[in-house]
């Protein structure tokens, strides 16, 4: 049979890493093919090669049986390949239509025909039954919508083979379902789809075939019907992974954190509308909601990175509303920021330097109050690297050289290592592979079991339900209700996340 895509003996070296090592992979036309693997396994690299963004050092690519040599993305696009990247490739200042037609703009004479662009994009959308408003600015639409714009982009270019790199990492459950629906329709329309994801449930949901990469090597390709999640996990990580190590110890009654009437507005928009919450010692409180419902802002307000426009934050019976980030750190509030590369780490610092970031003024890292105690910093870093299983050649390596999962571990190691009482974790496992997810989950649970408290933001309901004692659901900056995770169902939470409040089922507010 003729495969839509065949990649033979693909090898790609980067400075200091062999990202792809003689990978052979074949993808049948008209199927959904999942590619899975740990962080840094080489999935994105392989796909970038297929899309012409990187040139392989060795190997060849066949599209529909024809050998191809791609010099750039243009060549791949001309071959009918489209790609939706891990990070959205959209310019927020411009409209959806502008973004979609980029590179293949409709013209009127010498000029760019913006009207025709909008019409054409609208036509593509309606043909594939995808809901987007082509005239809107990208900055004004939701992440789920942006995802759809990315898919429309590939369709507009007439892609027959569509690659999606971690398309669900930032989507809500509802949006993920929508995406699944779109993918099914595309498949019915005869398109071939390649999808990279870390979420194995989705793999089982969406795909026909599954390929597993590990350490740059192709490990196996399986039919979905002939495999299951534990086997995939084993193939990916090389061992069994136990997710859901939840301990059933009851949360304490002492208040760790009390938020009263928190209001936050930015750029003339009400982002948080009078939120009141209580978090106890020894408790994990999950914040659920569609991305952009305000839960991230709430987390950042507790961490002190954002200043609320109104309301008060009381921590261990002390009002800390006006306190700075540094003061809160001193008082024992740890923060795992959502964007590790932008907010969590100084990418050009070494691991050791990053491990004291924010704690550099602690007496144990400081000599004579003004100098860095490098000995202490280094020995401490070595200890943490062992303790948190950060995979690195040494503590002097720059964090930018680590894989996403290991970078996340550095952030977690730092915040947890500072012995916080309250940890604010904003999507701590985003884009991280199963092995690392397991480690991070265990760290958070252990913290809770030792009497610490956790404020956990996550877009993944499973994660929230697994880790949290209670779940607070947000919609459009409002608190829809707080549920006990032992009794709450996915459906309940899902409904509240899209705005229908469940009268009477609200958990105790304090």
């Amino acid at each position: 049979m003729v495969y839509a895509v065949e990649m033979r003996g693909i090898t790609k070296r980067f400075p200091a890493v062999l990202a792809n090592d003689h990978i052979d992979i074949a993808i049948k036309a008209g199927t959904v093919h999942a590619i899975i693997g740990e962080n840094g396994a080489g999935k994105s690299t392989l796909m970038n090669i297929l899309y012409g963004l990187h040139k392989p050092d060795e190997g060849e690519i066949l599209i529909n049986g024809q050998k191809q040599a791609f010099g750039s993305a243009t060549d791949a696009i001309d071959c009918g390949i489209g790609m939706v990247h891990q990070h959205f490739m959209l310019v927020p200042r411009l409209t959806v239509a502008d973004n979609v037609v980029l590179g293949k703009e409709p013209r009127k004479g010498l000029l760019y025909d913006r009207k025709a662009a909008i019409a054409k994009v609208a036509e593509v959308c309606s043909r594939h039954n995808i809901q987007v408003d082509p005239a809107k600015k990208v900055a004004d639409i939701s992440l789920g919508m942006q995802q759809r714009v990315e898919i429309v982009k590939t369709l507009y270019r007439g892609a027959e083979i569509i690659i999606l790199d971690e398309p669900t990492a930032v989507l809500t459950p509802q949006e993920i379902d929508d995406l699944g629906e779109i993918l099914r329709q595309l498949k019915e329309g005869g398109k071939t789809i390649i999808i990279i994801t870390h979420k194995l449930e989705e793999v089982m949901d969406f795909s026909d075939d599954i390929s597993v990469l590990r350490g740059g090597k192709h490990i196996a390709t399986l039919r979905k019907a002939e495999t299951d999640i534990p086997e995939l996990t084993r193939l990916m990580v090389g061992r069994d992974v136990q997710l859901g190590g939840r301990k059933e110890s009851a949360p304490g009654k002492e208040e760790a954190l009390r938020l009263t009437d928190i209001v936050y507005a930015a750029a003339g928009r009400q982002i948080l509308k009078s939120i009141s919450l209580v978090l106890h010692k020894g408790e994990v409180l999950g914040l659920a909601g569609i991305d952009g419902s305000g839960q991230t802002q709430l987390a950042e307000i507790v961490a002190g990175v954002l200043t609320p426009s109104g309301g008060s934050v009381v921590y261990h019976s002390r009002d800390i509303t006006g306190k700075t980030v540094a003061q809160r750190k001193k008082e024992g509030i740890g923060f795992i920021a959502q964007d590790r590369q932008k907010h969590g780490l100084v990418m050009d610092f070494s691991i050791a330097e990053n491990l004291v970031l924010g704690f550099q003024r602690r007496p144990e890292y400081c000599q004579y109050k003004i100098a860095v105690n490098s000995k202490a910093v280094i020995s401490d870093a070595q200890k943490r690297i062992r303790e948190y299983d950060i995979r690195t050649p040494g503590e002097q390596v720059r964090v930018s050289m680590l894989s996403g999962g290991n970078q996340q571990k550095v952030v977690v190691a730092r915040e947890m290592g500072s012995r916080p009482q309250l940890i604010v974790a904003d999507q701590p496992t985003r884009g991280v592979d199963v092995g690392a997810i397991e480690a991070i989950h265990n760290i958070l649970i252990n913290h809770r079991n030792k009497g610490g408290s956790v404020l956990l933001v996550s877009l993944e309901l499973d994660e929230l339900m697994m880790l949290s004692d209670r779940i607070a659901v947000f919609f459009d900056g409002r608190l829809m209700g707080i549920l006990d995770s032992a009794t709450a169902t996915r459906e309940q939470i899902g409904m509240m996340m899209v705005g229908s409040s469940l009268e009477g089922k609200e958990g105790p507010a304090s």
């Binding site: 993305a73 243009t74 490739m89 980029l102 590179g103 010498l110 760019y112």
Partner: protein, 308 residues
Amino acid sequence: MTVSFFVVLLLSVIRLSTPMFIAGLGNMYCERVGILNLGAEGMMVSGAFAAVLGSYYTGNPWIGVFCGMVGGLVAGALHALICVEFGGLHAISGLGITMLFNGVTKFLCLSIFGSTFTPNVAALQTTKILQGVPVLGKYLGALSPLVYLGGLIAVISYFVIFRTPYGLRVQMVGDDPRTVETAGINVWKMRYSGVLICGLLCGIAGAYMSLGQLDRFFEGMIAGKGMLAVIAVKMGKWEPKGILGTALLLGFFDAVQLQLQINGIIGIPPEMLQLLPYVAGIAVLSLQTGATRLAALDTQYLRNKYKF
């Protein structure tokens, strides 16, 4: 204060701001593709000198302007090579280009003409055809055709940036080159084109200074106009309108400053008047709101270097 006084002042403003806005428009292309250009001064020097050489050897000032464009282009190409190809540091490359071309032109001028300035050559100081226009002809004709060319470039630039596919791509490259690359567009070609257009326009601006305002090249004649172009493009928020406005504003304060000196506002030392345009610039800046930024400005973008 007669009408003619205002006209003289207005013409002064136009002449003083013309090089700033032509070079500023050039810089707009350059910055919009993400390359900072502190070398506008050097590109203008190169253009000014090449223009005079062209006019000197052919006797035709328009060929001179063409040579000026080539001169600017050469400097622009160097900047492009360093910043686009080698991923060099934009600010340093720009300063280096200014220093290099100041040296090279002075050096060539001395070797060819034995003096720090050239003999006079056929120039473009007035627009003959406009002198026939009734009433205004006297004033319109007194401006160099390059002033009108500059105006034309501004209008064309407006359309190029906001109304053409090329402009759409330019806008995007300045914001996010990775997005543009994934759309199958050659980011490096885009970046080259922006820097080269900049070189070209700076060349014209230089040619205006040597052939449109004067009729020869002098060492040091650009006298900081290139740096003012850098200022104009940022204050003008990367839009032709804004650049034109900023250039006219700085030109206006400069012309006013000269006028104040002539009319002997007693007691104000000339140096304090001379810094008026710059103080005005800072004042205007501090009143500006909403700092727009080009996200990708002054960043390197190298082949095969990015994770998508």
